[in-house]
């Protein structure tokens, strides 16, 4: 592990909302909420990003639009325009690449840059320049953290927001992070914080004092990761685009507002999700062996069910049949607790270039294969909405699915 690493974390401030506020001047200084929905006038969907003005009313990401509208009915509610946000992310990436090729796009609004081997100008100066360029060229603000590894750099960027700039050196590390609550640690959610609280651990310093053996016994491999993180240790590398490990899964989810218990309706939504997932898989040339169904019931009980098959597939029908079976097994639970979120993803992937061939089942369904090919080529040429299944005619309008964001293109 290199103790002298210098990692810069760039975290865009209220990213999607800031872009909308930049593009429409009278939205600035007003509460604005970007939603995962195609009808922001409705109460369906979830909050994607809230502007800082909207956060004053307690609106936060993942909250239902319904709840957000109760808290702040006079806010501006917009449907997310992800093409626009990705375009801005690509431009931020271009700015970062002026300084180093070692740039990792961590998510649509977060990037890491490894400045370890930059002696002149030093990492802090580069970070300042990046922050200024993003402001000047894109009209957007970001918070920057500089630290000896990705974990600390990310924590540093969250110290001061918006437009923050925080540098944490290895020497300052213990004094700064020890008194912080464990929730401030990257990867610790509400549930994990509760579990840690149950063993009397509330701060990062307290976590660092728990013997690693005990943590491992209680939390498995996560326990070891927790121990290292509490000491501020992290040797994960910055992985630039060209060295990425490739796509690990394709998934779509859909928030269902107050919840749906009707299994016929859920299956229809599931078909739409499977279509979206497999279409992207075919476009990228991937086949997968494991289908994962994700459910959240009554906004509280979230879990996944999966099934693996022997052959790789990207057939909508095949993936849907597996996902449908998984869903049918949950019907009893859903009848008691309506599903408030449903998602499907395909993992265990292999790329066509690495020898992925269609399964015998796909080949036997010759007519469907030909139809899929024809439909895909129509969509490639004219866009995704040019042709849809009859059973999904109103689907997009009612349930907006959220694909994984891709930076390429």
């Amino acid at each position: 592990m290199n103790a002298n690493r210098q990692i810069i974390h760039i975290d865009m401030d209220a990213y999607f909302a800031s872009i909308e506020q930049r593009d429409v001047p009278f939205y600035r200084k007003r509460p604005l909420v970007v939603c995962h929905t195609d009808d922001p006038a409705s109460f369906r969907g979830v909050v994607s990003t809230a502007s800082y003005e909207a956060r004053v009313y307690g609106i936060e990401s993942s909250m239902s639009v319904l709840e957000a509208k109760v808290r702040c009915p006079h806010a501006v509610y917009l449907a997310g325009n992800y093409d626009k946000y990705l375009h801005n992310t690509r431009r931020i990436l271009d700015i970062c690449k002026r300084y180093s090729d070692m740039v990792e796009v961590f998510s649509v609004d977060e990037l890491f840059l490894d400045a370890t081997f930059m002696r002149f100008p030093p990492g802090e100066v580069i970070a300042r320049r990046i922050q200024n360029s993003i402001k000047r060229e894109l009209g957007l603000s970001c918070s920057i953290g500089v630290g000896p590894n990705k974990l600390i750099a990310k924590m540093a960027s969250e110290f001061r927001k918006p437009s923050g700039f925080t540098v944490i050196s290895s020497e300052q590390l213990p004094g700064i992070i020890a008194p912080l609550p464990v929730r401030k640690m990257v990867g610790i959610g509400r549930r994990m914080a509760r579990r840690l609280d149950s063993i009397g651990v509330r701060t990062i310093g307290e976590l660092a004092q728990v013997p690693v053996d005990y943590l491992e016994k209680k939390f498995g491999v996560v326990g070891i990761a927790l121990h290292l993180a509490s000491l501020g240790l992290d040797d994960s590398p910055v992985i630039p685009e060209h060295q990425g490990e490739g796509i690990k899964s394709f998934g779509h989810t859909s928030a269902l507002g107050k919840g749906i218990a009707d299994s016929r309706e859920l299956k229809r939504i599931l078909l739409g999700l499977c279509e979206g997932v497999t279409r992207r898989m075919r476009k990228e040339g991937y086949g997968g062996r494991t289908v994962v169904l994700r459910l959240c019931l009554a906004r509280m009980i979230g879990y996944t069910r999966s099934r693996s098959i022997k052959e790789y597939t990207s057939s909508t029908t095949r993936v849907f049949k597996i996902a449908r079976k998984l869903l049918e097994k949950e019907e009893k639970a859903i009848s008691r607790y309506p599903a408030t979120l449903i998602g499907v993803s395909v993992t265990n992937l292999v790329n066509k270039e690495k020898g992925y061939q269609l399964s015998i089942f796909d080949l036997l369904e010759n007519r469907e294969l030909a139809l899929t090919k024809a439909v895909d080529s129509l969509k490639d040429k004219y866009g995704e909405r040019v042709i849809v299944r009859g059973s999904l005619l109103n689907w997009k309008r009612r349930y907006h699915s959220i694909p994984r964001l891709e930076i390429g293109r």
Partner: protein, 83 residues
């Protein structure tokens, strides 16, 4: 208030410093002069690349317009109005 329009418009534009910049547009027989470009991005509809702009005409409203390079037509997508 957001008003969805989705109508074809005539646009005068210039190429400036390697960028396309709309100068004025004609919508429902009225000419609007573009005073400011607040935001721009491109996306794809199938194989067609589209250039999108959020422009101000000095009236306070913001117009979202888009050039579809497959058909070489401009569209007024929506208007954001303050009231």
């Amino acid at each position: 208030m957001i008003t969805e329009i989705g109508e074809t418009i005539d646009v005068s534009a210039v190429f400036l410093g390697g960028h396309l910049r709309p100068v004025s547009f004609l919508w429902r027989s009225r000419k609007y002069k573009v005073k400011e470009v607040f935001g721009r991005y491109h996306d794809y509809l199938g194989k067609s690349k589209r250039f999108n702009f959020a422009v101000g005409t000095g009236s306070g409203d913001v117009f979202e317009i888009c050039l579809d390079t497959a058909t070489m037509t401009w569209e007024l997508i929506r208007i954001h109005s303050e009231q």
